[in-house]
């Protein structure tokens, strides 16, 4: 973290609102995510976390609000104005709560598909590729190198040529992160990356995310239910409940925030005052 902090956050979300018919799923949420920082988005089930993610990454068009990405080379970009796939092209890349790999393609192929945007012009709309020209071969070799680096990093080299769908759940989670990272993102959005992982795998994930934060100068935005992981690695936490932001702050501040405790554990009843025991 030797790089000086930019004075403005990488992603600036103002008044994000998403309405499905009569249901107000997200109600005027403000959110920021910075480079070299891990930002967590937490909240009880059904609070609207994944909806916020879907708006951020172009899967939903928000009803209202402004999603400003400060792109280092392209300048400020308003994400809500882009087409769905356009958001990923700005460098905001996500993973999914229920893993979405290309199951019958190999792990390496998954990582090469992720580099489609960079490779497509190099294949000159397939013509250079069809003729197997030198420029294309070099571009492909460097894409394979990028993929190989991430496979090594995530300890997936041994299964690089296996069909992604045949891997264990924990491995598939890692492939999805490797795939997102090989797009060379600015902001990595992870939707419950620790879901279904055992404690050892969760610890490895925490180390990995901390490593990415330290080395790659990118922002990480995280939805997670594993409070141990969130409190451990997050620099800043946003809490949403019923579609609205109820708290924001450092892990220590959030841990002691009364509204957060209330949202997670409910209002203490008069005859049940001893309920709960800290965040789980």
């Amino acid at each position: 973290m030797t790089e000086p902090l930019l004075d403005a956050p990488l992603l600036d979300v103002r008044g994000l609102t998403m309405r499905f018919g009569g249901l107000l799923a997200v109600d005027g949420v403000d959110l920021t995510a910075e480079r070299n920082r891990i930002t967590a988005l937490i909240g009880p089930n059904g609070a609207g976390k994944t909806t916020i993610f879907n708006c951020l990454t172009g899967f939903y068009k928000p009803t209202a609000g402004r999603l400003l990405l400060r792109h280092p080379t392209r300048g400020p970009i308003e994400l809500q104005k882009l087409k769905g796939y356009g958001v990923a092209r700005t460098g905001v890349v996500r993973t999914f709560q229920n893993i979405r790999l290309f199951p019958s393609m190999t792990v390496l192929e998954n990582l090469l598909v992720a580099q489609h945007q960079a490779l497509m012009p190099k294949s000159v709309f397939s013509f250079a590729g069809l003729l197997n020209l030198k420029g294309w071969r070099a571009a492909e070799a460097s894409a394979v190198d990028t993929a190989r680096d991430w496979l090594r990093r995530l300890d997936l080299l041994a299964v690089a040529d296996e069909a992604a769908g045949n891997l264990s759940y924990g491995m598939q989670r890692r492939v999805e992160i490797a795939r997102a990272m090989s797009t060379n993102p600015l902001l990595l959005c992870l939707d419950e990356p620790a879901a279904g992982l055992n404690p050892r795998e969760t610890r490895a994930l925490a180390e990995l995310l901390a490593g990415i934060r330290a080395e790659h100068g990118i922002g990480i935005l995280l939805i997670e239910h594993d409070m141990g992981l969130v409190m451990d690695i997050s620099d800043r936490i946003f809490v949403v409940d019923h579609g609205a932001r109820i708290a924001a702050g450092t892990p220590a501040e959030i841990r002691n925030d009364e509204r957060v405790i209330k949202a997670y554990l409910g209002e203490p009843d008069a005859d049940d005052a001893t309920a709960g025991g800290g965040t789980h």
């Binding site: 769905g84 890349v93 999914f96 290309f102 190999t106 598909v113 294949s123 590729g129």
Partner: protein, 437 residues
């Protein structure tokens, strides 16, 4: 409370169950036999009369009862016998031969017309098979790689054929420019068609493409002024070899193949030439597809088949990927159509009905979605098998259907259902050190 028994687990089904099952089958057969077998129309002097021949009804019932019973008793041993067939994979030693398979096959195909047993019939059959291989190679891009079910592929075949027919008869183009025009026109129509239907998937997409196939055929049938309607277009230019024709006598200002080479004129020469032209087109198409699979566009096609949402999350524009898959597939369909028109010298809407679309799709599905070798095997199977079975006259389609059913039971994913990776980390060349530094 018997546990559900299946042939594979080996739990025996009690005989009483088998008997009851067979009796039910027999009764159903008897009910069906009354109108089909029990009543006959006979042409007597006083006109057409219905005669009851109810003796057939119990006979049919008895045959089905016995058949069902025997089948039930044999099910377990049959499944056991078929198990190795289902699980069969090419041995590892065969994998080393894989890179040689393609070139050897091409060599064999080139040699075919010059072999002693190759008569007009064999060459003609080979040409037909190659047309279907080319068509199925095109459809394989859309269906097998990109996963977009297309039930109206014959439309692109028809557009290619009619483009060729009309440019050569109305504009007096030669075969080769018409071939290019046929492929491009077909591709262009595919782009126009795919734009409105991109939001659809699965069953809905299949129905719309089915409709498009029929609409194309009906427009051709009714646009008398342009297409000649049901009469078709005749007098389509024959393929030429650098301007040489394969006729007995040279056209005005032209030269024939036999004039130039001094080889005595033989009508087979034209057939062999046609065969080699379609072979070259097919090999070129198969090579192109094999290369495309290894390129970003080909990987995007497969990724789209696997998960469209994941594609979008990686910045891939699904619209462009779908349009390119349709256009590339249609290009090959158009080339095949154009060649078909030039070979026949005549086209009519009848050649491009739904049966044609269904046959091409059957080749792709039977061969194993996405597999080029599978397409070749299945096309040979579908074109050659009905020919071999000509001796069985009316029963050949029945035998054909039976063969299809058996393949679907034993090889539900198609003959060659395994997917080959387009790249392996172990064999991918690392970037040269000097460049990486």
């Amino acid at each position: 409370m018997a546990a559900p028994a299946s042939p594979s687990t080996g739990t025996p089904i009690p005989l009483a169950h088998r008997l009851r099952d067979a009796v039910i089958a027999g009764l159903v057969a008897m009910a069906l036999a009354v109108p089909f077998l029990g009543l006959r129309t006979v042409n007597l002097d006083q006109g057409l009369v219905v005669q009851a021949k109810l003796a057939y009804v119990p006979l049919a019932g008895a045959i089905v009862f016995l058949g069902r019973l025997v089948l039930g008793l044999l099910a377990a041993p049959l499944a056991k016998a078929a198990a190795p067939l289902t699980a069969w994979r090419p041995p590892v030693s065969a994998q080393r031969l894989r890179p040689w398979g393609g070139p050897l096959l091409v060599l064999a195909a080139v040699a075919l017309p010059f072999l002693p047993f190759a008569n007009r019939y064999v060459i003609d059959l080979g040409t037909t098979a190659l047309i279907y291989i080319l068509l199925a190679t095109g459809l394989n891009i859309t269906v097998g790689l990109a996963g977009l079910l297309d039930l109206g592929f014959a439309a692109f075949y028809a557009i290619g054929a009619y483009t060729c027919a009309l440019t050569t008869t109305q504009l007096h183009w030669g075969f080769w420019p018409a071939l290019a025009a046929g492929g491009l026109a077909s591709s262009l129509f595919a782009v126009l068609l795919s734009l409105p239907i991109l939001r659809l998937r699965g069953d809905y997409l299949a129905i719309v493409t089915l409709g498009f196939g029929e609409i194309t055929r009906i427009i051709i049938l009714n646009w008398q002024g342009l297409t000649g309607g049901p009469n078709g277009v005749s007098g389509i230019a024959r393929p030429t070899l650098f301007g040489l024709t394969f006729d007995r006598r040279a056209p005005a200002g032209g030269q024939t193949f036999s004039d130039l080479t001094g080889i005595a004129y033989a009508p087979e020469h034209r057939l062999i030439f046609l065969y080699l032209v379609i072979l070259a087109l097919t090999v070129l198409a198969a090579y192109t597809v094999a290369r495309l699979r290894r390129l970003p566009i080909g990987r995007a096609w497969e990724a789209l088949r696997e998960d469209e949402i994941a594609c979008r999350s990686l910045g891939i524009n699904p619209t462009m990927v779908k349009v390119s898959a349709y256009a590339t597939g249609a290009l090959m369909g158009g080339l095949a159509g154009c060649f078909f028109a030039a070979r026949q010298g005549f086209v009519s809407p009848e050649s491009f009905g739904f049966m044609e679309s269904a046959t091409i799709l059957a080749i792709v599905v039977l061969g194993g979605m996405g597999s080029q070798a599978g397409v070749i095997i299945a096309a040979l199977f579908i074109v050659v098998l009905p020919e071999l079975a000509r001796g069985f006259a009316d029963y050949r389609m029945l035998a054909f259907g039976l063969a299809m059913i058996l393949i679907m039971i034993w090889k539900p994913g198609g003959l060659l259902s395994g997917r080959l990776p387009t790249i392996r980390l172990s064999t991918a060349k690392p970037k040269p050190v000097a460049e990486a530094a």
